[in-house]
Every structure is written in structure tokens, then in C-alpha cells.
Symmetry: C2
Subunit: 259 residues, 2 copies
């Protein structure tokens, strides 16, 4: 492995930019991962790892893992403490970082019309994005449909997802309304969640066959444009509805889809 | 209101200690809250606020809220930017802080034997503690039984709970096994969650009448001592069980209790 000691190294500067900017990620088609487990998951699941960076200290401690990831990467580098500090987004860095190429987002044509999908409209909080994807994987959801506003390649979302975003089938779309219309025309049931208690109770909905359930933005919920395409459904609650956050609502919705 | 300009003021030093140390919280019976909404929730729900601190800037901007909280507090102080920086635990401080007296924890005798309770055994992550309590409030759970190891008075747990910990009935107990035995003797059904798929499926459990469901520690799950007292139940999954985190498992469990 080649050594990098300087924070002004071009590769390091580029990695920092990809880590910090959603726009740069879109332009380059690359994303940044931090942590032994996420780097390992990317290698195991067959992501194209363009650059792998490991600190000298981490290499000494986790040599086997580092060699495994390096072998699967196009280029691998040993970095100094200074460079590690520059790259680290967490306070307790493990000294493992990589730059991966985004997969060609699963094409809409890959959607199984008899599957169960969760669609995310403009979900903003990376912790919520990550949590929803973890739960989707646990419950065996067929895939996640992410509208463009959901920054699923942000390092925070990837970290919160604990590798599930690398393994799940993620379908990205720029126009969620168009995608949903297409899926509805192909016989899938379309539901959109709302705290509005006049909507159909989720426990009364037909979840047989192909289903897509939409979870809306944390502050504004599902947009009117999307509501027009879907049946409104609600989680009946005895307590304070405002207390149910987006990832918990998504968990209960996915559970009812798979139950 | 009295002004405090120095970070070496005794009240400020004591507030910092209560915010940072679980031991000091136990010894003093006090806890620390940060943020306009949490301080307001404490005042509205009738907590005894010993000291309320507001930055000069925040007082100018949110005078009505600050005056309302100050009126409900034993003492109220205007603090300098320096003092605000000393107290702030978040990066974007709103300039509102208070020290509250812990409520006498609801006595075990207050438990409604026909209610639905969630019991937390040694849950460590304050974000999980907060999330479980938010969801418990939303779904209308009767109360939360928190074993001593759960630091529900930590500022992080209070923040993640978004005020629900101030409103919920929280029963603290030093010996969860004893508490559960007592509740079982009084006719409550006792369940403990596990990823072990040979356990009874949660969808097949009798959730009528009084029920307590135990959620275990993030890393180790429910302890053997507690399992011996309860029926083991599991959330059937098609995907990777390890992906379901404690707060999501708790959300689905509480949903099934209330469904």
C-alpha cells in the first residue's frame, strides 16, 4: 500500500469534498464511508471501492480486515494521523475509510409488482433514513423507493443504516408521482401515511399482493400531489400523535405490510 | 431576574455537574434540561424548576416564553454568552436551560394491573430510551417501567424523548425481577422480547388485559433472570434480525400490545 502523509494530497481533498457535499456526490457518482464494518460491508456486497484509506495504527490492529478490503479495492493507502483526522467525521475514528462508486440505481423496471415497498418522500434526517432502511431489511421488505430529495448517500445516513443501504434494493427516482402512477397502473396498491385520524386505519387495509406505502417528510408529511395518487392510511393512536416520529411510523407501517 | 456573568458562579458549576454526572443526579435528585421546548414542557407539566437560566439574546427573542418559565421557577437568571457556552450541550444552543427536581418516581403500587406497560432492562443508548418513550406516549401506553440501569434523567435521553419523559408515568425500580414477580402475582401477563425465532410469535400472543413486555439491553438482550419470569416472544422476520434495533423492536411490540 502507498502512504499518504499530507492533508493536501489530491485524493484526500477529493474524499473530503465527496464526504461533505451532496452535489459533489451526484456529480462524481461516488460516496464516502467511514468505519471498519461499513468498509467491510461495501467489500463483501461487491461495491466498487475506488480508494481505501486505513491509518497506520488501524492497519496494525485490524490487519486481516484491512488486507481483505484492500484486495477488493482499486487503490489502497496507509494514511498518517493527520490525514486520518482530516477524513474522520466521527469523534472516535476507527481509521477505516473508503470511496465507493454508487451502484446504478435499480431501475424502476426491476420492481416486483407483487412485492412490498416503502417509498420515502423527501425524508431529511439521515438518522431517520438510516433507521427506516435498517428496519426494512430486518422485516424483509422487497425494496426502498427513495425520491431524489432523500440523501441516502450521505455518510450519516449510511452510518445510521449500518450497512443495510449497501444490501437493500434501493430504487431512486426524480419524480415520485410518476413512479407511483406507473406502479398503480401495474396493479400495485398505493398507500400514503398521515396522522389525520379520519383516514383509513392501517389495521383495516388490504395488504395482500403488491403494496407501496409512502412515508412523508418529517415536518410536512406526504405532499398533496402524492396524496392524490394514494389511499390515505393512518396508525390509530390513543396518545399524542405528534410523538410518533417518521422512522417509528415507518416501522409500524412496514410491520403491518409484512405481518 | 438576576444576572450571572461568570462561569465560576456556584450555581453554574453545580448545573454543569448535574448535567454531566448520573451519580450527581442521583445524589441531588435534580436533573438538567436544555432547549426552549423542554424547559417549557417542564413548566407546563408542573415540574419543580429549581433554577431557570436564559441567555440575554434568547430573552430578547422569546420574552413571553422566558417570562412564563421564570414565573414557574424558584429562581431565574439571565446569563452571559460565556455562561451559555459553558452550559450548552448542543451545538446550536437556544439559550434556555433549567435544573428540575426529579418527581417522586411513581410508586409500584400505582401500577394499573389491567394496563399495558413496557419495561426497559438496562437500556444504554439515550437515543433509544428517548425514542421508546416518545413512541410509548404516542401509542397511549399506560407507563414505562425503567430498571435502575436506564439513565432516563440524562440530558440526552430527555432531549431524545422530546418532553414525553416529563409527561409519561415512569416507574423506576432497582430490582426489575422483584417488580415483575409482584406484577405477575397480581395477574399481569409478562412477556420478554428476543430475536430467538423459536420463541412464541408476538402475533400469536394474548395481549388482552394487563400486560408487561420487557425490552432488553442493546448488546445483550433480556437477562436470563428476567427470561425465567416471562414468556419469551419474538417479532417474526423475513430479513436480517440483527438489523432491528431496540427502539424499533419496542415500537412494534408496543403497537401489538395496543393494536
Amino acid at each position: 500500500m502507498i502512504s499518504i502523509d499530507s492533508v493536501s494530497n489530491e485524493r484526500i481533498k477529493s474524499a473530503v469534498k465527496i464526504a461533505s457535499s451532496a452535489k459533489t456526490r451526484r456529480q462524481t457518482g461516488m460516496f464516502f464511508l467511514e468505519g471498519l464494518r461499513l468498509c467491510r460491508d461495501a467489500a463483501v456486497t461487491g461495491y466498487h471501492i475506488d480508494s481505501f484509506f486505513v491509518s497506520a495504527r488501524a492497519y496494525e490492529r485490524f490487519r486481516e480486515d484491512a488486507d481483505f478490503i484492500a484486495e477488493k479495492s482499486k487503490s489502497a493507502f496507509i494514511i498518517s494521523d493527520l490525514v486520518e483526522n482530516k477524513l474522520a467525521l466521527t469523534q472516535t475514528s476507527q481509521g477505516f475509510f473508503c470511496l465507493c462508486r454508487m451502484k446504478q440505481d435499480s431501475d424502476i423496471s426491476e420492481i416486483d409488482f407483487s412485492g412490498k415497498y416503502i417509498a420515502l418522500e423527501n425524508l431529511q434526517d439521515p438518522a431517520n433514513l438510516g433507521a427506516v432502511c435498517r428496519t426494512a431489511e430486518a422485516l424483509g421488505i422487497s425494496g426502498v423507493i427513495a425520491e431524489g430529495g432523500c440523501d441516502i448517500y450521505s455518510p450519516k445516513a449510511q452510518r445510521a443504516a449500518m450497512g443495510s443501504l449497501l444490501r437493500l434494493s434501493v430504487i431512486r427516482c426524480d419524480n415520485l408521482a410518476e413512479t407511483l402512477s406507473y406502479l398503480g397502473e401495474n396493479g400495485m396498491k398505493l398507500y400514503a401515511t398521515t396522522p389525520d385520524d379520519t383516514a383509513e386505519k392501517i389495521t383495516h387495509c388490504d395488504m395482500q399482493g403488491g403494496v407501496v406505502s409512502v412515508i412523508g417528510n418529517e415536518a410536512n408529511g406526504v405532499s398533496d400531489e402524492i396524496f392524490e395518487l394514494c389511499e390515505k392510511i393512518t396508525i390509530p393512536m390513543l396518545g399524542r400523535a405528534e410523538s410518533l416520529n417518521a422512522s417509528m411510523a415507518a416501522a409500524i407501517t412496514m410491520w403491518e405490510m409484512m405481518r
